[in-house]
Amino acid sequence: MKEDEMIICRCEEVSYEELETAAAKYKCSARELKLRTRAGMGYCGGRSCRTMVDKIAAASANDQNRTCVSLKYQPPIRPISFENLGRGR
């Protein structure tokens, strides 16, 4: 397998190449890169891919984006069912 095809975000099946292309095109923050490619927005909430997505964005960000905004977790910490959330577990 070529390096480019390597899947960075498994939950959303986003490859290294897709992330690189989007990062080069928009020179955006990690947050925007995530929203544009969906990397980090999958089932695991970015726990497996977040650092890589952050790095790819940081590597291509231009001066305009010098304030580096890294991805942050949104609650819940772990996926939870509606039933358990509704019961306040």
């Binding site: 305009q64 304030t67 819940p76 996926p79 939870i80 039933e83 959330l85």
Partner: protein, 393 residues
């Protein structure tokens, strides 16, 4: 000061409203500059659902404005280069008791009279709509023109096109001060240089009052907090946007037959299928200042409410939750207005939960106002000073 830029029109705010203004104005040939304090779509426009709805608009002016906006979004789907997950399946309101069914009947009648594509649904229709619905739901109504977008992708897409039309976008550029100089130009001081401009559009949503204050203009918008759940589905739960009829009551402030906390938190079911393998569940409405922390207690009631309407999603997984601030106005209509007291100053804000629905028409109308054309919709009801009528001497 070496960093001074002169621009014709400066739009403050890079959310979906500012982006739509940038798109329609630059397309018409105007020189547009957008100043955004953080990133594009980093406030309310990425903390919301993506429904473009007429179903929940007051019959008449409000719903017709939404219909116009839907038509524009439909056109945008062909005009814009970056796809924004546009789907046009219509939407559904479900009723849980006879009182709501009667009210729904009236709502449908009024909307049809206003020229919109509404229809009642019975139990059978609901069963066909989703296998996950609770059996006791009586029926509801549908609006067939309603559509869905991905709100931040639509924002990015409009900005992308606006840039091609020559618009300049400055992110991480926060407006610190705004005033007029002796030659009647606006002076806009930011953390990244000073801009002068002939016209300024305030598209700051819940933050619009702060910009207004700088010019001594009172803008009657309050932040109303809303929370949303992102869930992962094993099976498709439904293909269209679904809300409970009580959402309307919660939006317009009527009496609902629900438990006190559901009522207090303004919790009402909203279901939105997204283009990815997820769906969104809302909603809540609370006045809580500018706080955007997710309140777990409120989430609990949103989840409970979802399970009341979709008992069979109980074991599906919540993967993310977030809270956004909706720019609320007292009459649930946005402010789209020129401020005569400060010629050249425009306001486009206060859309509460309708910012995505009404972004396109808002951008279009501001373009028409600036270009001194007839507007696509009447704008008298959207004036900024309509809330102060009684306060005037």
């Amino acid at each position: 000061m070496n960093d001074t830029f002169h621009r014709d029109i400066v739009v403050i705010g890079g959310g979906i409203i500012g982006s739509s203004i940038a798109y329609y104005c630059s397309k018409s040939g105007l020189d547009i500059t957008v100043l955004e304090k953080k990133e594009l779509a980093s406030g309310t426009s990425s903390k919301c659902d993506g429904n473009i709805l007429a179903v929940d608009k007051d019959p008449g002016f409000d719903s017709q404005m939404a219909l116009k906006s839907q038509q524009l979004v439909h056109e945008l789907n062909n005009e814009l280069e970056i796809p924004f997950e546009y789907r046009n399946p219509g939407s559904v309101l479900v009723c849980e008791n006879d009182t709501e069914m009667e009210a729904a009947q009236k709502w449908v009648q009024q909307q049809q009279d206003a020229g919109l594509d509404f229809r009642m649904l019975d139990r059978e229709d609901l069963r066909n709509e989703s296998a996950y619905f609770a059996d006791d739901l009586l029926g509801g109504l549908e609006c067939r023109t309603d559509s869905i977008v991905n709100p931040y992708m639509l924002t990015y897409s409009m900005i992308h096109r606006a840039k091609q039309f020559g618009a300049k976008i400055h992110t991480n550029t926060e407006v610190k001060n705004l005033y007029k100089n002796q030659v009647n130009q606006f002076v806009i001081e930011t953390n990244d240089g000073i801009f002068t401009a002939n016209k300024v559009v305030n598209a700051c949503g819940v933050w619009a009052p702060f910009i207004g204050e700088m010019l001594d203009i009172d803008i009657s918008i309050k932040p109303r907090k809303g929370q949303i759940i992102v869930a992962s589905r094993q099976q498709p739960v439904g293909l269209r946007n679904v809300m409970e009829f009580g959402y309307l009551i919660s939006k317009f402030g009527g009496e609902r037959q629900v438990d006190p906390l559901t009522d207090k938190y303004g919790v009402a079911l909203v279901f939105e299928p997204t283009e990815s393998q997820n769906f969104l569940i809302g909603s809540s409405r609370q006045f809580n200042g500018y706080d955007t922390k997710v309140d777990h207690e409120v989430m609990k009631y949103i989840a409970k409410r979802a399970v009341r309407f979709y008992p069979k999603i109980a074991d599906m997984t919540v993967i993310r939750t977030y809270a956004g601030l909706r720019p609320w106005t007292a009459d649930h209509l946005p402010i789209i207005s020129h401020v005569e007291k400060v010629p050249g100053f425009y306001i486009a804000a206060g859309h509460e939960g309708d910012g995505i629905s009404l972004a396109a028409i808002t951008g279009k109308v501001i373009e028409e106002m600036i270009n001194e054309k007839d507007t696509s919709i009447p704008i008298e009801l959207l004036r900024y000073d309509r809330f102060h009528v009684n306060a005037k001497p």
